[in-house]
Amino acid sequence: MERKHAIFPARVGIIFLTPALLFVVVFLLYPFVRVFLLSFTNQTLLGTTAPNPEFVGLDNYQRLFDPDRWMRLGEFGSALKITAQFVVGSALIGQAGMGMLIAWAFYRKRGVLREVVFTLVILAWIIPETVVAFTWVAFLDWEFGTLNSVLDTIGVGRPDWLFDRPLQSIILFNSWRGTAFSMLLFSGALETIPPSYVETAEVVGATAWQKFRDIFFPLLRGHILTDLILITLWTFNVFTPFLLTGGGPAKRTEVVSIYTYRTAFMGRHEFGKGSSIAVVMMLINLALALIYLASIRRRRAT
């Protein structure tokens, strides 16, 4: 193929790129290298190891993966396990499932109900996090919460949501919070399916489930994969549960992001160990991102 004539010579292109590259170096590459190096020290924010940190080799990593205690509540393994439950529950089942359900329910429908539902779901997505967290605390509180007031009136009693079912509570919260993205993505994707496919299927008397299984699902597979990987990445790093439970009670909702925060910025203020968690998290994120990129590439190829 003949090369197109460039508007600018290559050198000018590099000049244009420089600011962006500089930003990447200053705000991405430098912190990354810094965190990586910090993770091999016992640097703290306070105490004598703040001005004079020592090189401790793989000590921080060994402490993270110490088999004797890493599954204890408030340790790294436990945080990973809770994060996995949180991701599966709130992102994969909650957000993607609900998103698909809503998109599917309003497929090729117009009207007030659709607008109302879409607006509410999107509203839950765009309200600032602290506001949302506050309303959910007000909603779930055992003594004064709206939910329990209602439940108590109809005779169900007062379940202690944030105390007895903290993980379920934050899963419910995060499903509610983030369904909009999956819903929008799926409803957009559904629009791309030629109506003739569906009409033909209806003529031959296919049930709703058959239509979903044989038409929508195969055609949407790529979108579903993209959606699942993206929301997994986001949910993996989300910090908002902290505003609801603070990681408690007794560290039972301590997802990895909260664990990192607590290690580096609360109590012992261990920057070194906190950095080692960040490095491990970066690797996990990197793996997820690679899967995402590979899936896109494969989709383009087909």
């Binding site: 924010l45 306070l46 105490g47 703040a50 055992w142 944030l162 408690g248 009670p249 203020h269």
Partner: protein, 458 residues
């Protein structure tokens, strides 16, 4: 206007403004000094904020203006918790910023000094601080609250004691004789059982868990541990005690209260805002006994506070925390208590150390401190100011100061304190048995302090 003309114009303007700035017209421009504390008008430590904004700041500004050196002092209210305030200070100071005068808990000092974030007063302001008249009126013990390695870092604001507060109305309902003073843990537990039978929702609340931070260590763990005859630190050997029968007794006490008999409400110890909930529950007459510091009496349930107890002096009683058995407490005592203290530091990064010191030394002088006593009677740090008009406060101080001890002033202490909070949390939540929790604590403290600096008492 051509470009060069415009630039000339700009330059002349800037120079002219600069000249104005050093001219005589600007000499009266007041120096700005900021002060911050966990105090909010109408919120936490309401009295402190009121005292500063309505008394100390106006009178100081007036006096300075009269001398021809005007200073403009601004109070920055902090409404979060103590742990968050500490985090804020650590981050502010580590980047060389922050407010000029900061309220400070004494036990934070070694950790901050170790990190190089604080400097002695004499270094921040100048050696003249040592000539301040006030030092002669503050005892060595109280000066130690904000001193470290022989250097003064700030001026203390007072000390405190810890005890059991109880609701006389609930005690009368349950038929318990008043005034009440238990002499053993069994007394305390039996009283709690009696209250429970009489239908009191939360007979005994004693702090545990990480959410309450230092309140767990001081008002909770230490009060039981000292009663079991042990301290956290062996001041003769200079070692941390990581395992002892006293620790086990303490954890079993917690287990009895929260896990085995449900005499206390574990929710409050594990939820984020549990301490405030405990205050509200005490106000509403749901809590029979609450172990707290005298701050609870003079600020939390005092008139004017949002958790004020109506007719406080009639409804609320106090008792000394007993040892496990008479004579079995720390140093062979029958009763135990522990004291901390807070005060004020001057930020080493302040651009106006002289003005900050002028304000700090003024607010710590006799007349302003007396003015504070009128708003909130407390154990004063000055020997020329007495507790004003609160006989209960006076009685608590004279009964308990003799039994009281202090935390070790060491940089590791705050780290070990968080491990204590975690240890109690594990027992109260039922996650671990007392033995398992103590083992995990020993492991963590050994990691923090080093194997040479810990000891086990069989």
């Amino acid at each position: 206007m051509s470009r060069s003309k415009f630039l000339t114009f700009l330059l002349v303007t800037i120079l002219a403004l600069g000249a104005l700035n050093i001219g005589p017209a600007q000499a009266q421009e007041p120096v700005k000094v900021t002060i911050t504390c966990r105090c909010v008008v109408g919120g936490v430590n309401h009295n402190l904020a009121v005292w500063l904004t309505t008394f100390v700041i106006p009178t100081f500004e007036e006096a300075m203006a009269a001398e021809g050196t005007p200073v403009d002092v601004e109070l920055v209210e902090f409404g979060g918790g103590d742990e968050q305030l500490k985090e804020q200070y650590a981050l502010d100071l580590s980047v060389g910023s922050g407010y000029d005068i900061i309220s400070f808990d004494g036990f934070w000092v070694p950790e901050f000094v170790g990190a190089g974030l604080l400097k002695p007063l004499a270094e921040v302001v100048g050696p003249e601080v040592n000539d301040w008249e006030g030092w002669g009126h503050i005892s060595e013990g109280i000066q130690a609250i904000l001193s470290y390695q022989g250097q003064r870092y700030g001026i203390p604001a007072g000390t405190d004691v810890r005890q059991i507060f109880y609701r006389k109305d609930l005690f009368e309902q349950a038929g318990i004789a008043l005034p009440w003073q238990p002499t053993s843990w069994e007394d305390v537990l039996n009283t709690a059982r009696t209250l429970k039978e009489a239908g009191v929702e939360i007979p005994l609340q004693i702090n545990a868990g990480t959410a309450m931070g230092e309140a767990t260590t001081m008002q909770g763990y230490f009060m039981v541990l000292l009663g079991a005859g042990h301290h956290l630190y062996d001041f003769e050997d200079n070692k941390w005690i990581v395992k002892s029968p006293g620790i086990l007794d303490t954890l079993n006490f917690y287990k009895t209260v929260y896990v085995d008999e449900g005499l206390g409400d574990a929710r409050m110890q594990l939820l984020q805002d549990g301490r405030n909930r405990s205050f509200v529950a005490f106000r509403d007459g749901q809590v029979g006994m609450l172990v707290e510091g005298d701050w609870f009496w003079r600020s939390v349930i005092a008139p004017g506070s949002e958790t004020a107890v109506e007719n406080r002096n009639e409804v609320v009683g106090w008792a000394m925390m007993p040892a496990k058995e008479p004579g079995a407490g720390y140093r062979g005592q029958d009763f135990v208590s522990i004291s901390g203290g807070t005060g004020w530091l001057i930020n080493p990064n302040t651009p106006h150390p002289q003005e900050a010191w002028a304000f700090l030394s003024y607010m710590s002088s006799r007349d302003p401190v007396r003015a504070f006593e009128l708003i909130q009677p407390r154990i004063s740090f000055r020997d020329d100011v007495q507790v004003a008009g609160d006989l209960v406060m006076t009685a608590m101080a004279s009964a308990l100061l003799q039994y009281s001890t202090v935390r070790p002033m060491l940089p590791e202490y705050p780290l070990i304190s968080t491990e204590i909070q975690l240890m109690t949390e594990r027992v109260v939540s039922g996650e671990m048995s007392p033995e398992e929790a103590m083992d995990a604590f020993a492991e963590a403290v050994t990691e923090i302090a080093g194997a040479d600096n810990v000891k086990i008492i069989e």
